[in-house]
């Protein structure tokens, strides 16, 4: 079987600070995501899962190791072509939208940036696709609810028509009922557009809903890579994963 990998990460180390103040947020992480696959990064706060995502997106300059996206090795700088392929959705829909741009501006800017044409029609369709409708087109972020904002953030990420979405806790800032809506939306979008997802979450339920495989992280290291199936059945090998599962089940009760 030769399914090409959308993302390959090998021996990725990411650090902040330098000299004696250097701290390694991610230590020699290795994983790969097949094209069209959905991969989760789980672990508690500070385990380095978001940092991996930011390193892939080119938002953290201090890293070593190898990262490959769609067969192309990544360097220090990301090309515009990279961002045409890979887009990111942030955790906080309140902070991640430009406060002074209408939805229309946010989306058209992203499209213009990547040289798309027929922007007017594209925006209308994109808003339909994320379940907002064109009535939201000329609103500002402060006029929207959290769920609506996250839909706009997803639409913005989809605007350049990428193949890969990096999702940084896309639902953790939202109400539970809204969380489900956004998760279903993400699942639908992935099916319709054949997207590859890498999603960070501390919520095993969310990962179980959206992903096929997941890396469990602790203190910057990947403890083990598991299938969602084995998470469900409890067939995991590491104590830490078992501990994480147990606390997830306990909090669900």
């Amino acid at each position: 079987m030769t399914v090409s990998n959308a993302i390959e990460v090998r021996d990725l180390t990411v650090w902040f600070g330098s000299g004696t103040e250097r701290s390694d947020a991610v230590k020699r992480a290795t994983f790969s995501v097949a094209e069209g696959g959905s991969f989760g990064l789980v672990g508690e706060s500070g385990s380095g899962k978001s940092t991996i995502l930011r390193a892939i997106a080119g938002l953290v300059p201090t890293w070593s190791g190898e990262m490959t996206v769609a067969g192309e090795p990544l360097g220090r700088k990301r090309s515009p072509a990279f961002y045409k392929k890979v887009q990111m959705v942030f955790q906080d829909p309140y902070g991640s939208l430009h406060p002074r741009q209408t939805v229309d501006r946010v989306l058209s800017e992203a499209m213009q940036l990547h040289g798309l044409t027929d922007i007017d029609r594209r925006i209308a369709r994109l808003l339909e696709d994320v379940g907002l409708g064109t009535g939201f087109r000329f609103r500002y972020p402060h006029q929207l609810s959290g769920g609506q904002r996250q839909r706009v953030a997803i639409a913005r990420a989809l605007a350049p028509e990428p193949k890969i979405l990096l999702l940084d806790e896309p639902t953790s800032a939202l109400d539970v009922s809204v969380q489900a809506e956004i998760l279903n939306l993400l699942a639908d979008l992935r099916r319709e557009r054949a997207l590859t997802y890498v999603m960070v979450s501390h919520d095993l339920g969310v990962v179980g809903h959206l992903c096929e495989r997941a890396a469990v992280m602790q203190q910057g290291e990947i403890v083990e890579v598991v299938t969602v199936e084995s998470l469900r059945t409890g067939a995991v090998t590491q104590d830490y994963t078992r501990h994480l599962l147990a606390s997830a089940i306990a909090s669900a009760r």
Partner: protein, 317 residues
């Protein structure tokens, strides 16, 4: 937007009324009799009361206010007790000179302040940031009248490059756009610019630093935007607050340059004001304070409207 503008304009009226009442009363409750300044020491009581009646100072306060405000709306601010010239002419001549000085200082200060602030905000917590912070703290802390005197000693007395006094050759107060006059503007404008450079730089540093750490800036990078374009967005987001700080600074520059105008003998409103105070020239004092205060009100209005135009989050209704 138009209704917002109208509403703001209507709101200015009570503020202007309050300002006029305070201007009028402030001068009335100040100790000292203006007549002592112009009457001979041996003037009789009849002569004093005749003079009082001539200036309308014998009437009750509300009546005096009504007469004053009535004349005011017709453009008549009374006559200066000291010089006998119409207050309006004196004040507007002086305000023009002050405005010239204030705007010149702003033209020097704001671009420098914005540039330094942006630099410090972008290169936060490294030596560039510390250097800018040191410069801006020094700028805010140094007493500018002292700095003015130091600059005079260096550039006028020792080097002899620039004149130290007045707004033109031979102490003329008639401004003209030529080098002979503009030489006179340089030292006071630079001196006056030092404080706002510090304030604007610190404000912009805090704003830029704050905005740069926000998620939406990361999102702009993740969208694939170039560094220059991201910085353009940061600047636009900092603009509204920076603008309001700069607007108020311009107001302070206009009204707060008394010391600088005195140091440099600049024939502006501050200079006029200090003369009016020492001569107990009531009408002149009232007129000058009123015009400066109304200028501040107008400045605030402009800043508010500009802010609402820039920032969609500010309610415009």
């Amino acid at each position: 937007m138009l209704t917002y503008l109208l509403r703001r304009l209507i709101l200015v009226l009570p503020v202007a009324f309050g300002v006029s009442v305070i201007c009028f009363l402030l001068v009335q409750i100040a100790p000292g009799d203006p007549l002592t300044a112009i009457m001979p020491v041996d003037a009789t009581a009849e002569e004093q009361s005749a003079m009082r009646a001539a200036y309308g100072l014998d009437k009750p306060l509300p009546v005096q206010y009504a007469i004053w405000i009535g004349n005011l709306v017709q453009g008549d601010m009374g006559k200066s007790i000291a010089t006998g010239r119409p207050v309006a002419a004196e004040v507007f001549g002086a305000v023009q000179n002050s405005l010239l000085l204030a705007v010149s200082a702003a033209v020097i200060a704001f671009p420098i302040g914005i540039f330094l602030g942006f630099l410090a905000g972008y290169f936060r917590d490294i030596w560039i940031d510390r250097a800018v912070t040191a410069v801006s703290i020094a700028g805010v802390s140094v007493p500018n009248y002292w700095l003015g005197i130091v600059l005079v000693i260096i550039f006028s007395v020792n080097l002899g490059w620039l004149p130290s006094m007045g707004a033109g050759p031979g102490g003329s107060s008639e401004w003209q756009w030529n080098w002979l006059h503009m030489r006179h503007l340089i030292l006071p404008a630079v001196t006056l610019a030092v404080v706002p450079i510090g304030i604007v730089a610190r404000t912009v540093r805090a704003l830029a630093g704050d905005i740069l750490t926000q998620d939406f800036v990361q999102a702009l990078y993740a969208k694939g935007m170039s560094r220059a374009d991201v910085l353009r967005h940061v600047a636009r987001n900092a603009a509204a607050t920076a603008l309001s700080v700069m607007g108020l600074q311009l107001g302070y520059l206009l009204g707060g340059s008394i010391l600088i105008e005195t140091v440099f003998n600049w024939p502006g409103s501050g200079f006029l004001l200090s003369n009016a105070i020492f001569q107990r020239d009531l009408p002149l004092l009232q007129g000058t304070i009123l015009v400066l205060a109304l200028f501040f009100v107008a400045m605030n209005l402009i800043v508010d409207v500009a802010q609402a135009a820039i920032d969609p989050r500010i309610q415009r209704t």
